[in-house]
Amino acid sequence: MKVETIRALWKRPTRKSVSLSKLLLATYILLALVAPIIAPQNPHDPLQIYAWEASSPPLAMGGGGYTYLLGTDGLGRDIVSTILYGLRISLVVSITSTAIAALIGVAAGVSAAYFGKWVDVVIMRIVDLQLSLPTILVALIAIVTLGPGIDRIILAIIIVQWAVYARIARGVALSEISKSYLDAARLQRLPTRRVIFRHLLPNSIAPAITLVPIELGHAVALEATLSFLGLGVPIDKPSLGSTVASGFQYLLTGQYWISLFPGLALFGLIASINFVGEDVRRLLDPRNRSI
């Protein structure tokens, strides 16, 4: 079944919209990787910013010898470069936090299912408690207690997301435990570690994997929300969300480009992740195996 999961993921998609979103997502990741090479300006380096060219409209010529294709923000940062660098931050934050949250969540869920008794009770009550609180509230409390910074945001998103994985992984693991192959493994007196890691975990992981892209989209949105509220990334290293936030106050004065373009980029990123996530879910759904 483990091999099957991976094989299913490699299957070629058949629907056009899905290929489009994959292409878009791939472009985003590629752009993020090569941002320092292709961006006309490093918006994190104060020496490359011409402050007096702040709030230039799109297509204005800049003092650095390049055109501000999408204009500049209120502090003179080139919007194209800000989007490219912001994309890096948004992706690093969301991928790191989602990966760690998935690992912790699946490990906690499978442990709860395997050991049962008080381990199960303790872990699952924490999960219940956390899932009963609104996501943004948990994130806000985490950020306010941990303080600002990129690492703290990652930590806050992990705190928010691990519970989702834990609940799903426990459910699947419980149904796997009652199957005969696991009885066989236990009857061979294999070490507990080997039973969990070689037999139970790989077979419980598929639903958690379908969750990853969906939660990745959530993580991007959550980081953007926190940054928009001013509780996210440092102000001199803006992510997509904080760029939208800093441009928000200029909207009424007609300087639409500061918020609009980063907002569109953010929208495209979350949409493409969600479509790809939907695709993954479809591929891994046993009822869709025949496709």
């Binding site: 380096d45 104060p46 020496l47 910013i49 402050a51 007096w52 702040a54 709030s55 209120g74 502090l75 003179g76 600002p148 001013g230 440092p234 102000i235 001199d236 106050q249 200029y250 009424l252 004065t253 007609g254």
Partner: protein
């Protein structure tokens, strides 16, 4: 009878016209005024807390002995004149023929009552006003229209202190409690408007006081609506829900003007600046280029001067505050009493600044954390980033850190920052000179905002001497000299005086914005037509 019918019809028409004209004529002379304000009035006790929130709105009902004009100079209020009898004695002549809203005459007894109520009766949490009267030893009344105030030490600026104290009518027995004023009793003062009704923190309704001693008031009634969100205030003004809205964000001015609304502004009697940690050998958040801790660079005047030279204050005022700010070189905007006309903001000189840094032994620059509140003052967090860009050009890499004001203020008092964004405002520049630049001294009450522990003995002496002088041009001159002396040592880096912006609709012809930031109906003049 057709002729009679015609006659009555004409009569009816004439009557109808008269009826419809009469209210029109009346409204032209006595229109109501609706003001959307950010000030949340929480009490009707004029002596409860010294905040613009209360004083701004209650100044319609209550008046002071001395008023403050737009240069912050004292002007006659309920007192017509005053003179110093001795260094510790002031005589105030009171205005004759003034009556409270309940009809009782205003006399010296009311002044005694008001001062004693603040000094002796009100206890914490009430606060702020005590500062102005705690030096008063005795108040005597030689006749009903004369008050002699004796202070325990020299009080050259007693009239200025009295610009903060509202006069209430005296009570036959004891003092009125705050609860009493907030609940059953209507607040009674001598002001141009009478109290009508209020809802704490939401609405205050006032009506014209016809027997007011001063110039007839322009508005028949005034309604204050508390609208705390700036965007909502702008929206209320745009849609005509209010005639005046205070504290308009600079970015909204253009939109309002496009909709035919008018905007008035003035430099606020305040400044925002960067403060350096000068007191400690090794403040946190400062490292050498390789990340190793270094000795406090801000103790060296040359470093502070270099940072000042490398800060583009014109950019902050013109771009970040969109022109609704004045680049600052001192604590209050020039033109207000006690400020210097000689201190000017220079254009940034990065080469000169680099040289100075090299002389001070920081030719490679250093890393520094620059902290500030987010969204407390206009342009606060944007300024930090703009300054980071400026300082990068002289080799100083800045890590801007912003936090909500409460968090920022706590961390600042904990000493977590090496350089930070601060502000000071008050009724006179001496208040800020004392709080921000004078050496911390609890006995003298100085240095309450001097978080960086800056010490300058010759300035302290000059300031004490200047403060001891009688109010007037000479005193202002001495304060200006003291300011020039201390600013030559670059104790702080003044950034800007932001402008107070008030928007108004067609009904209001002009609005005289006061540098203290008050919002009152008395400042609004009706339009001519």
């Amino acid at each position: 009878m057709p002729s009679k019918d015609l006659g009555s019809a004409l009569l009816a028409a004439a009557f109808a016209t008269a009826v419809s004209v009469a209210p029109l004529g009346a409204t032209a002379f006595a229109e109501g005024l609706r003001i959307g304000t950010s000030y949340k009035l929480m009490t009707l006790d004029p002596h409860y807390a010294d905040l613009n929130e209360n004083t701004s709105l209650l100044s319609h009902i209550y008046e002071r002995l001395v008023n403050q004009d737009e240069h912050l100079e004292p002007q006659p209020g309920l007192a017509t004149s005053w003179r110093q009898l001795s260094p510790t004695q002031w005589e105030f002549k009171l205005r004759d023929g003034v009556r409270f809203h309940d009809g009782s005459p205003f006399t010296a007894r009311d002044v005694v009552y008001s001062i004693e109520r603040v000094r002796d009766f009100l206890k914490p949490p009430s606060g702020g006003f005590q500062l102005y009267v705690k030096g008063i030893k005795a108040v005597t009344t030689p006749d009903p229209l004369t008050v002699v105030i004796e202070t325990s030490s020299d009080a050259p600026t007693l009239p200025l202190s009295l610009t903060s104290i509202f006069i209430m009518p005296h009570k036959a027995d004891g003092f009125a409690t705050t609860e009493e004023l907030n609940s059953q009793a209507r607040p009674v003062g001598t002001g141009p408007y009478k109290f009508d009704s209020w809802q704490s923190g939401e609405v205050l309704n006032l009506v014209r006081y016809d027997a007011y001693w001063g110039n007839a008031t322009a508005w028949s009634d005034v309604t204050f609506r508390v609208i705390e969100s700036p965007a909502a205030r702008v929206a209320a003004l745009s849609t005509g829900d209010v005639d005046i809205a205070d504290y308009i964000p600079a970015r909204d001015v253009e939109g309002l003007e496009n909709r035919g609304l008018k905007v008035d502004s003035i430099s606020a009697a305040r400044s925002n600046f960067l403060q350096f940690d000068i007191g400690r050998d090794q403040p946190p958040g400062v490292t050498g280029k390789s990340g190793d801790p270094i000795k406090n660079p801000f103790r060296d005047k040359r470093v502070r001067q270099a940072l000042t030279m490398a800060t583009d204050r014109a950019f902050l005022a013109d771009r970040i505050l969109l022109g609704y700010g004045t680049a600052a070189a001192q604590l209050f905007p020039p033109g207000l009493s006690g400020t210097s006309v000689k201190l000017k903001v220079e254009a940034p000189d990065y080469d000169g600044a680099k040289k100075l840094l090299a002389e001070a032994g920081f030719s490679d620059g250093f890393n520094v954390m620059l902290a500030g509140p987010a969204g407390r003052y206009p342009g606060d967090s944007e300024s930090l980033q703009a300054i980071a860009q400026n300082w990068a050009r002289i080799g100083i890499s800045v890590q801007p850190v912003v936090a909500p004001f409460s968090v920022f203020a706590t961390q600042r008092s904990n000493g977590d920052y090496p350089v930070w964004y601060g502000g000071c405002s008050g009724e006179a520049v001496t208040l800020c000179l004392d709080a921000v630049l004078a050496s911390p001294n609890t006995d003298l009450g100085t240095g309450s905002l001097n978080y960086g522990k800056y010490h300058n003995e010759s300035f302290d002496e000059m300031l004490v001497k200047a403060k001891a002088m009688e109010a007037g041009p000479e005193r202002n001159e001495s304060l200006a000299r003291a300011t020039e002396l201390v600013m030559a040592d670059y104790p702080i880096l003044p950034l800007y005086h932001f402008h107070l912006i008030v928007g108004h609709g067609q009904k209001v012809g002009s609005y005289a914005v006061h540098p203290r930031g008050w919002t009152t109906a008395m400042q609004a003049t009706p339009s001519e037509d």
